[in-house]
């Protein structure tokens, strides 16, 4: 494993809604290396998305600590379950607006890597779901992230489109490797993409077991 960038220690996380306290996460410890892809696999509603939101800084109401291993909070690119593109901005503008420092070359290179160049200047309403999801992935990568959070990025795509999207994302990752946490229901998808798979249990969620995958996807294939 490359040098660690994240040590996450969660003691618990609950939601307080109507009928009282609902414990979602139990004790969870996750360590993540700099260029490592870790898949979080578990049943629906077990708190996978909540876990990503905590790491992404969108949910701070939990017991535990996030240790960025002595560094400042890294640049985190989030891919939400729904693409969440700005419908009134073009595909390319969606990427550029996510960047703190303008880097149009990187945005264009990512659009090319994800097979989206012909759609750079169209509005998201004209894209298929698969393309919109790829734009959301390109947007997350366009900020040159040190960590990418992917929340079921290929869900509800047909198998061929999902496979094609995975392949394109892997190409982009190979050219510009970064740490990634991938939430998925799909064990085959996790095995195809991740270095490690963390199997999560029912609420309050804990890591039931960890599987290390011998990946053959490494190696440079061009650059972005």
């Amino acid at each position: 494993m490359a040098e660690l960038i994240l040590r996450l220690h969660i003691e618990g996380k609950s939601f307080n809604e109507g009928l009282g306290e609902l414990p979602v996460l139990g004790q969870i410890d996750i360590a993540l290396g700099g260029r490592e892809i870790v898949a979080l696999v578990g049943p629906s509603g077990c708190g996978k998305t909540t876990l990503l939101r905590i790491i992404g800084g969108l949910d701070t109401d939990f017991r535990g600590t996030i240790d960025w291993c002595g560094a400042v909070v890294p640049r985190i690119g989030t891919v939400f379950q729904e693409p969440r593109l700005l419908p009134w901005r073009t595909v390319r503008q969606n990427l550029l607006l996510a960047q703190q420092t303008a880097n149009p070359e990187l945005a264009d290179a990512l659009l090319h890597a994800l097979d989206l160049t012909p759609f750079s200047n169209v509005f998201p309403a004209t894209l298929s779901l698969g393309m919109a999801r790829r734009v959301a992935i390109a947007r997350a990568l366009a900020i040159d992230p040190q960590l990418v959070l992917l929340d079921e990025p290929f869900v509800s795509l047909d198998p061929a489109m999902a496979a094609r999207s995975r392949e394109l994302v892997l190409n982009a990752w190979r050219a510009r490797p970064t740490a990634a946490l991938l939430v998925t229901h799909d064990h085959a998808e996790a095995a195809a993409l991740a270095d490690r798979i963390l199997q999560l249990g029912e609420r309050p969620t804990r890591v039931l077991h960890e599987i290390t995958v011998a990946q053959k996807r490494r190696g440079p294939t061009g650059s972005i």
Binding site: I76, W88, F123
Partner: protein, 239 residues
């Protein structure tokens, strides 16, 4: 457009049959418009009224939008001001105009304030609905990418409010110009409303209609040439 032509034709025939100065023909009204335009009286009074419409429109849209967005975003403020906005919504325009003239005198500021105050609550209510409908998922996306406040406002929030803003603008323009005429009739010494009052005292229906239609034409031009193209541009992503 066809319905307008049919209406004008029916009016012309009816006026010919009636043969009364209380119902002038379309052609005589057009002639009066032309004569008033050449004399300069119509353009002068139109310009004055349009200036008042523009001032009242700008003030009511700015303040009403700010108030509505704030009420839509902050529940406590909404609870605090909801009743006041409802009262303003239901207050007859005439009462607001008369009160402001009585309190602040028959001057330009009172006139424009009275018009703006009449439009402000409807703008606030429309924009409040827009602010309530803002998509939290997009706000969260913007937060996750650490977008600056300005970038978030310009690229995430305002485009979502645009349809509400245009709805308020179009209904606002229609409402404001009508109220401006009343304000001019009651307390100003120029403008289309003032002139219509003079023509009313002379029972000169031809000139009343000439000024009215000239003003409708101008407002319709603003709608066609400014508001509709702006709205089409702002919503072009929907196609």
């Amino acid at each position: 457009m066809g319905s307008v032509l049919v209406f004008l034709l029916a009016w012309q025939i009816a006026a010919r049959l009636a043969d009364s100065r209380l119902l002038p023909t379309v052609t005589s009204v057009l002639g009066a418009m032309l004569q008033q335009t050449i004399s300069g009286a119509l353009p002068w009074n139109l310009a004055i009224t349009l200036g008042r419409v523009a001032a009242a429109f700008t003030i009511s849209m700015l303040l009403g939008s700010a108030l509505g967005i704030a009420m839509g975003r902050w529940r406590q403020l909404d609870l605090l001001l909801d009743s006041a906005v409802t009262v303003l919504l239901n207050l007859p325009a005439l009462v607001v105009i008369v009160l402001l003239y009585v309190w602040f005198g028959l001057n330009e500021i009172a006139a424009i304030a009275a018009v703006a105050l009449n439009k402000l609550p409807t703008t606030a209510v429309t924009l409040r609905e827009g602010a309530r409908a803002l998509d939290p998922a997009l706000a969260e996306m913007a937060e996750s990418f650490h977008m600056s406040r300005w970038r978030k406002l310009r690229h995430v929030t305002l485009p979502q409010l645009a349809p509400y803003f245009f709805a308020a603008s179009r209904s606002g323009l229609a409402l404001i110009w009508k109220i401006v005429l009343v304000v001019e009739l009651l307390g100003r010494s120029n403008g289309v409303g003032f002139e219509i009052q003079i023509f009313f005292q002379l029972f000169d229906v031809k000139l009343i209609l000439a000024y009215t239609f000239a003003f409708i034409l101008v407002v319709q031009m603003i709608e066609w040439a400014v508001l509709q193209p702006m709205e089409r541009w702002a919503t072009r992503w929907r196609s």
